[in-house]
C-alpha cells in the first residue's frame, strides 16, 4: 500500500513536470525563441495619422464598398483577446492582449466571390491573405495593446492582428481590405517571403 502510494506520487510528479515542459514547447513554433519585450519592426518611416480623416475601407470585389470613420470603428462591437504572436525574424511573445473589431464584424452582410484579400496601409505596405484566414474570429483590426491606445511604432492608430500567421501579416497602420479573386503577393511576399506564412509549418521563405 505504502509502496503503491509512493509509486503514484513519483508518477504524478514526473507527469506534471513533463506536462509543463510540453506546454511551453508546444506553444513555441519551430525555430522561434521567446521574448518578454516587444521588438519594433519597421520597413519605413512611422506614419502619423490624422484621426479626423482616417477611414477603414473594404473594397474590391464587393457591390457596395464599405467605409468607417475612426469614430464609427470605435463604436462597433469590440473584442479583447489574448494571443501568442510569432515574428518571422524568430521572436515569439506569449499572452499579448489586444482590443479591436473582429474582421468578421466588418465583413457582416458582405457578399463576395473573392477568395483572397490584400490588406493595405498608410506608408504603402501591403500583405496578402486568403479571405478565410481573416474570417470567423481569426483576425481583428486592433486599436489597443495592453489596455492602452496602440502606439504608432506598433502600428497605431490601428493594425491588423492575425495571430495564427507570422506577424508580418498583422499589418501596421492598416487602412483597409481589398477583396480579390486572385492572390496578389504583398510587400514581403513578392520578394522572398512565403505567400501564406504559417509559423507551425515554418513557412518563412519561397519554397518552404
Amino acid at each position: 500500500m505504502r509502496d503503491t502510494h509512493r509509486l503514484m506520487g513519483f508518477i504524478s510528479r514526473g507527469f506534471k513536470g513533463r506536462r509543463r515542459d510540453t506546454a511551453s514547447s508546444s506553444r513555441l513554433p519551430p525555430g522561434q525563441y521567446l521574448v518578454n519585450d516587444f521588438p519594433v519592426l519597421s520597413a519605413g518611416p512611422t506614419p502619423r495619422a490624422n484621426l479626423d480623416q482616417w477611414t477603414f475601407s473594404i473594397e474590391g470585389e464587393i457591390d457596395e464598398p464599405k467605409r468607417w470613420t475612426w469614430k464609427e470603428l470605435l463604436a462597433l462591437p469590440s473584442d479583447t483577446v489574448t494571443k501568442d504572436i510569432h515574428c518571422v525574424t524568430k521572436w515569439s511573445k506569449f499572452d499579448t492582449t489586444w482590443k479591436g473589431v473582429s474582421v468578421a464584424t466588418l465583413l457582416e452582410g458582405v457578399e463576395t466571390g473573392a477568395e483572397y484579400v490584400t490588406v493595405f496601409c498608410d506608408g504603402g505596405y501591403t500583405t496578402n491573405l486568403p479571405l478565410e484566414d481573416i474570417m470567423d474570429g481569426k483576425a481583428w483590426v486592433a486599436y489597443e495593446f495592453d489596455g492602452q491606445p496602440l502606439h504608432p511604432e506598433h502600428g497605431g492608430p490601428a493594425r491588423l492582428l492575425v495571430p495564427h500567421l507570422y506577424f508580418w501579416k498583422s499589418a501596421k497602420w492598416v487602412r483597409g481590405i481589398r477583396l480579390e479573386n486572385e492572390q496578389h503577393p504583398g510587400f514581403w511576399e513578392s520578394n522572398g517571403y512565403h505567400l501564406y506564412g504559417d509559423p507551425w509549418r515554418e513557412q518563412r521563405y519561397w519554397g518552404d
Partner: protein
C-alpha cells in the same frame, strides 16, 4: 525605440551589398524610379529592423530596394531604382 533610431544610412548595408555585388556599392549613384532624384547609395535611407532590408529614397521615401536573405539565397528587388551608376574597379 525612436523612429529616428530605426532609420540608418546606406553605409549600414555596405556589407550586405558587398556580399551580392562585385563592385563597391556605397559610392554607386542610384536614380529613384518614383521622383528621379539621384543619390549615392551611401546616403539613402535604410531600415534593417524588418523581415528584410528596405532601402528608401531620402527625397520621396519611396522604396528603392528590398533585400531578403534566407535559406542560403538572396531576393533582391530593384524596381524602385531606375538606373544604377557604378564605377569600374
Amino acid at each position: 525605440m525612436q523612429t529616428s533610431e530605426m532609420k540608418l544610412d546606406g553605409n549600414a548595408i555596405a556589407g550586405l551589398l558587398g556580399e551580392i555585388f562585385a563592385v563597391e556599392m556605397t559610392s554607386a549613384q542610384g536614380t529613384c524610379a518614383s521622383c528621379g532624384a539621384v543619390n549615392e547609395v551611401g546616403r539613402v535611407d535604410v531600415y534593417i529592423h524588418a523581415p528584410g532590408t528596405v532601402v528608401r529614397c531620402p527625397d520621396c521615401e519611396q522604396v528603392l530596394m528590398r533585400i531578403v536573405r534566407g535559406r542560403g539565397r538572396y531576393w533582391l528587388d530593384l524596381t524602385g531604382v531606375r538606373c544604377l551608376e557604378l564605377a569600374e574597379d
